[in-house]
């Protein structure tokens, strides 16, 4: 077998990127369950408390979630929990 001298090998993971449309934003929020995901930075909870108060005052059903740490991605279990129980999600607080 001979090897090619006029070729290079791909240094990437060679994962195909699949173009997908974003899910259109939900315009109608009545009867929607809104998830609030804290990323666990300082004062995330405090910020989301205020958001929760505003949404609850408007009659929305609000559920709270929290990542264990902002230094790592959210565990799969939390993401699945949000997908199962919520219609929309608000994530915060970043700096």
């Amino acid at each position: 077998m001979s090897y090619s001298i006029n070729a290079m090998r791909d240094p990437t993971a060679e994962t195909e990127s699949v173009e997908r449309d974003r899910i259109p934003p939900k315009m109608e929020l009545s009867n929607a369950t809104i998830g609030l995901l804290s990323i666990s930075k300082e004062r995330s909870a405090e910020f989301l408390d205020s958001v929760e108060k505003l949404l609850t005052a408007q009659g929305h059903n609000v559920l709270r979630f929290e990542k264990p740490t902002h230094t790592k991605p959210a565990p799969e279990g939390i993401l699945q929990d949000i997908v199962e129980r919520c219609d929309v999600v608000v994530e915060g607080l970043a700096d």
């Binding site: 001298i5 290079m8 993971a13 991605p73």
Partner: protein, 477 residues
């Protein structure tokens, strides 16, 4: 009656091959011999030349390391061989007790061309079963491989060495590990990373094959969950992975721990760190201004790798202080920023110098913040002399720094000194440590001529000290 054959591999550019010419003629007349010449099929003239093996196919198949090599086959299978000229050995292999009478009893052979630098890998690709799983990117006749690499987004902004099969094969000769071994999942895309992908990126970074085990160890260290590579990549802060190499490996690879240790000019320092950064970019998909959200970044994100100065036996090296066996080679990965110098040309006693260096360290992240990030302190040889003259080693230096880095909380709380930033007001009555235990890495590095040392601040994510930790990894083969 079994079938007996002899094969001999020779080259003209070998005095011992010329010496055995009459012996080979003797063998041919008695039993017959098939000759292969690695450099000139007209040689040996006495026997009317040899089979042309300039392409080294037979030499590779026969695993020839020395010429001349004589091989005895019975029923097509090798039963014995001898290398160079040793009359006793040739007599044993041929069964001809009087072979080569008149020649000196012994003369060593020469290196086979199959052993020339880079040749084993070339032959393994040509005739062996060395193949790669990575996709082949064909180049057109007029394509510049460096430009193709830029166009495909494979580079850090500087040119890369084109990863051709031969270069990858030579890179892989630096490790005993199989190309298809999976090292782990590289963030942010959590893409599977094989030894082959590490080798390809190491080629592009400009590494030599002997650096590959270090790059592999860096990759394994970075993938430990407690290092939080994903968070380090994604952070808004300046940091990137800073690699500290300890042990005999740094001398073996010719790394620089002396003058300009954090600067340009040393191939191993420059390319080991770069290889890992390219791996994050190419295999992990972590690119600046995408998942990498750094507000400023820092030049160390091209590459930041250096060895500790271990030339003074009185100084306990960082890896030993962190629990590795003395004499072992390791990498330690730190989430670090750029370099901040601290000058002190007046301190003449170790107590003063430790307090002085601590003042510089208080500035890491923010002078009024505490336990908010870690740091590296690199002590220069001239500063180290002041500690050593009074018998201070690692333990004394670290202890004095720890003491000097403990400050009254009331000076640091938010709003104090007319500055909003600071620690939580609830800590006003405490004495507060600047760094958590183990969070300040003290190393020796740098050249002579300056009474200054260097500070490398750490990632603010390190304040989550249970989730974000400095990691070490032994370098394998």
């Amino acid at each position: 009656m079994f079938v007996m054959e002899f094969l001999a591999v020779v080259k003209r550019d070998c005095e011992t091959c010329k010496l055995v010419e009459p012996v080979l003629a003797e063998l041919r007349d008695t039993h017959g011999v098939t000759l292969y010449s690695q450099d000139d099929p007209a040689f040996p003239e006495l026997l009317g030349g040899a089979e042309d093996d300039r392409a080294l196919k037979q030499s590779w198949r026969l695993r020839i390391e020395t010429v001349p090599t004589l091989v005895r086959l019975e029923e097509g299978a090798e039963v014995s061989r001898t290398e160079g000229w040793d009359r006793t050995e040739w007599a044993r292999v041929t069964g001809m007790s009087n072979i080569g009478v008149g020649l000196p009893p012994f003369q060593p052979g020469c290196g086979s061309r199959t052993q020339d630098p880079g040749m084993p890998e070339k032959l393994a690709l040509q005739y062996g079963n060395l193949t790669f799983d990575s996709r082949e990117i064909e180049l057109g006749e007029d394509d510049d491989p460096a430009e193709i690499a830029f166009d495909r987004g494979w580079t850090d902004g500087m040119p890369v060495v084109p990863p051709t099969d031969l270069r990858i094969a030579r890179m892989l000769s630096g490790t005993a590990r199989a190309p298809d071994e999976i090292i782990g999942l590289i963030p942010p895309n959590l893409a599977e990373c094989t030894v082959e992908k590490v080798a390809i990126n190491a080629v592009m970074a400009g590494c030599r094959p002997e650096y590959l085990p270090v790059v592999l160890a860096v990759t394994e260290a970075a993938l430990k969950p407690e290092f939080s590579m994903h968070g380090l990549l994604a952070t808004l802060w300046f940091s990137g992975p800073v690699i500290i190499v300890n042990g005999p490996v740094s001398k073996r690879l010719g790394m620089n721990w002396g003058g300009n240790v954090f600067g340009q000019g040393n191939r191993a320092n420059a390319t080991i760190g770069r290889a890992f950064q390219l791996l994050i970019r190419n295999v992990g998909g972590g690119r600046p201004r995408e998942i990498d959200r750094s507000v400023f970044g820092n030049p160390g994100k091209y590459s930041f790798c250096f060895p500790e100065d271990e030339t003074d036996p009185d100084w306990m090296s960082l890896n030993v202080a962190r629990g590795s066996a003395p004499g072992s080679s390791t990498v330690t990965l730190f989430h670090g920023d750029g370099v901040q110098g601290i000058a002190d040309q007046k301190s003449r006693d170790p107590e003063s110098l430790a307090r002085s260096l601590a003042m510089g360290l208080c500035g890491v992240t923010h002078p009024k913040l505490a336990e908010y990030s870690n740091a590296i302190l690199a002590i220069s040889p001239d500063h180290y002399d002041i500690f050593k003259a009074e018998g201070w080693g690692r333990a004394e230096v670290e202890s004095a720094l720890r003491e000097a880095l403990r400050r009254p909380g009331r000076d640091l709380v938010e709003g104090e000194q007319g500055v909003g930033a600071g620690i939580d007001p609830s800590r006003a009555e405490e004495m507060v440590d600047k760094f958590r235990e183990g969070g300040l890495l003290v190393v020796r590095a740098g050249g002579r001529g300056g009474l200054f040392s260097a500070i490398i601040g750490g990632w603010t994510g390190q304040r989550r000290h249970t989730e974000v930790q400095i990691v070490s990894q032994e370098i394998g083969i």
